[in-house]
């Protein structure tokens, strides 16, 4: 009897030790010899068109919505010219210069550079896949339990390995072409701001982005609290003295402007935090917590040294079209809580709290993008007037295209109601996917801005 108890204790200690040793694969430190990301130019595209897309969160609903939007863009033929004036025939989808994604939308954004030549394949491996069911099965497999009992390894890590292998072909950021640029947004929990999986953000951690798997970033971006735990990154390197940190101009000017500009304040605070290497671990959760649509990226690119602003000042190669497509898979559900006397349970309150903040933030950011477009268009019109300053950088610019694909804009009551009933999960049935396909088709057909864009493209062939 005593021997059995002793054996059991030994076994438990052994299991405990094994569990303690289970760590996920972390980001790697930055080495000088590491190749830069995105060196391979994939397609020759029109550099007079700047095309940015954002894909919101919303599980498979968002993934499918983004997928069908891209499918529609592929149907629009687009001709552009190389620097040698050779004509290149592409689709409008090939012209996407930047894809920003949050949560379920990050899967579409990340799929763009990987599956653009075989888009249908992504439908099979991502959109139609029962991701939720597969993850539950993996959790029940006994050989995964030692990992899951580890304090360092979670079900989100299990999900990340699955996404990496089965959806993103084990591709890392270093395997991606440099066009389109990818922005996967997660939420940096300690700072309450977006952590974007870019070379720049990884360098703040003295880490190498090129070796980091796309699937891990998508897992962090979609690690919605309660269902998933955050994904952890390691903060390498040595803490720099303030005088050295201030040599980075972005930090220097963020500090200078931090009292009058909240974005500068947030950026400065984040850089200070990451520079302090006693903050050894960065925990990233669902990107939706800091804005569920990914539109913040558009605003960032509109800032002085962002992609949009640089193109607006490029007088040698003036911008002709600025296209922004915002895909929002949010739903509006009827609230039942007001029909009951009892107050909602804590999980419901948590969902209300998070989703309300997310929706308000997203709408405010979209309004700011609209304001910037309006302000820019006023400048363009006055630049072209009889008393103009002759701004060559804006001389060719058409009125910017802001195309919002959002289910709440569906006028067909039946279709809108069906869409709003779709759950936020990582599995949807064929008939549910069909509702999304029909909704996207409806929204794109009825979108006046999209029609105006197609007309412009057709006329300038």
């Amino acid at each position: 009897m005593l021997r059995r108890i002793f054996s059991l204790i030994i076994l438990l200690v052994a299991v405990f030790c094994v569990c303690r040793c289970c760590h996920p694969k972390y980001n790697q430190p930055l080495l000088k010899t590491v190749a830069e990301t995105g060196k391979v130019v994939k397609a020759i595209e029109d550099d007079q068109t700047l095309f940015l897309t954002t894909f919101s969160g919303g599980g498979t609903r968002a993934m499918a919505m983004g997928y069908y939007v891209v499918e529609e863009l592929m149907k629009v033929h687009y001709k552009s010219y190389t620097v040698n004036n050779a004509q290149v025939a592409n689709s409008l989808a090939d012209e996407i210069d930047l894809a920003s994604g949050v949560s379920g939308g990050s899967f579409v954004a990340a799929a763009l550079p990987i599956y653009i030549d075989d888009w249908k394949a992504f439908e099979e491996v991502g959109v139609k896949r029962n991701i939720e069911g597969t993850l539950i099965k993996k959790l029940l497999m006994p050989w995964n339990w030692p990992y899951l009992l580890s304090p360092y390894y979670s079900r989100t890590n299990l999900a990340s390995e699955f996404y990496d292998e089965k959806i993103f072909k084990s591709k890392t950021f270093g395997d991606l072409p440099n066009h389109p640029k990818l922005r996967i947004n997660a939420t940096f929990l300690a700072q309450g701001v977006h952590f974007i999986y870019t070379k720049e953000f990884f360098e703040y951690l003295s880490s190498d982005l090129s070796s980091y798997p796309i699937g891990y970033a998508a897992a962090a971006s979609s690690a919605f609290p309660i269902g998933f735990t955050p994904i952890t990154l390691k903060n390498y390197g040595e803490t720099l003295a303030d005088s050295i940190l201030m040599k980075d101009k972005r930090v220097k000017y963020a500090k200078k402007n931090s009292k009058r500009n909240i974005n500068k304040f947030v950026y400065y605070r984040m850089r200070k935090f990451m520079n302090d290497k006693s903050n050894e671990w960065v925990h990233n959760a669902d990107g939706g917590l800091a804005g569920n649509t990914g539109i913040k990226v558009i605003l960032d690119e509109w800032a002085t040294n962002g992609i949009i602003n640089k193109k607006l000042n490029d007088s040698k190669n003036p911008l002709k079209r600025l296209i922004i497509i915002v895909v929002n898979a949010g739903t509006l559900t009827d609230d039942e809580s007001c029909k009951k006397e009892s107050s909602p349970h804590i999980p419901s309150v948590m969902v209300y709290t998070m989703s309300t903040a997310m929706d308000i933030l997203s709408d405010e950011r979209l309004s700011r993008v609209k304001n910037k477009i309006s302000e820019l268009w006023q400048v363009v019109q006055s630049s072209k007037g009889p008393f103009s300053l002759g701004d060559t950088a804006l001389s060719l610019l058409e009125k910017p295209y802001l195309i919002e694909i959002n289910a709440r804009n569906i006028d067909d009551d039946k279709l809108r109601t069906s869409f709003n009933k779709l759950p936020t999960s990582f599995y949807l049935k064929e008939e549910q996917l069909d509702i999304i396909k029909k909704s996207v088709d409806y929204l794109m057909r009825s979108n006046k801005e999209f029609s105006r864009l197609k007309k412009s493209i057709t006329e300038h062939k």
Partner: protein, 109 residues
């Protein structure tokens, strides 16, 4: 949106130059003599004078309250002649803000 026109002048001369890229906070963003459209208030401006170095002064500006019709104009003085300079003929003498000669420490900061 804030508005700025950057001009470049060869130091100790009245010779204005063109065709040089403007550096805003160290990054190329537009060219001199054009109205630049910017977002932030305080920025640091220079011009890129050749492929290897940034020989011009850095000038720190606060662009608040500029308009398209009344952009801020700044003249950045350039240290020495480079092959990439294209002198502008018949330009009026610069009467706008001319940068203070920067210290060595500010250069290449």
């Amino acid at each position: 949106m804030q508005f700025l026109i950057v001009r470049a002048q060869l130091r100790d001369t009245k010779l204005l130059l063109n065709d040089l890229p403007v550096l805003i906070d160290g990054e190329e963003n537009g060219v001199i003599n054009n109205v630049l459209k910017l977002d932030e208030g305080t920025i640091e401006v220079s011009v890129k004078t050749d492929k290897e170095s940034e020989a011009a002064d850095f000038v720190e500006l606060d662009l608040e309250n500029t308009t398209q019709d009344q952009p801020m104009e700044v003249v950045v003085e350039v240290d020495a002649e480079h092959d990439t300079y294209t002198p502008v003929k018949d330009v009026p003498e610069a009467d706008t803000y001319i940068s203070e000669k920067s210290s060595e420490g500010e250069k290449n900061a």
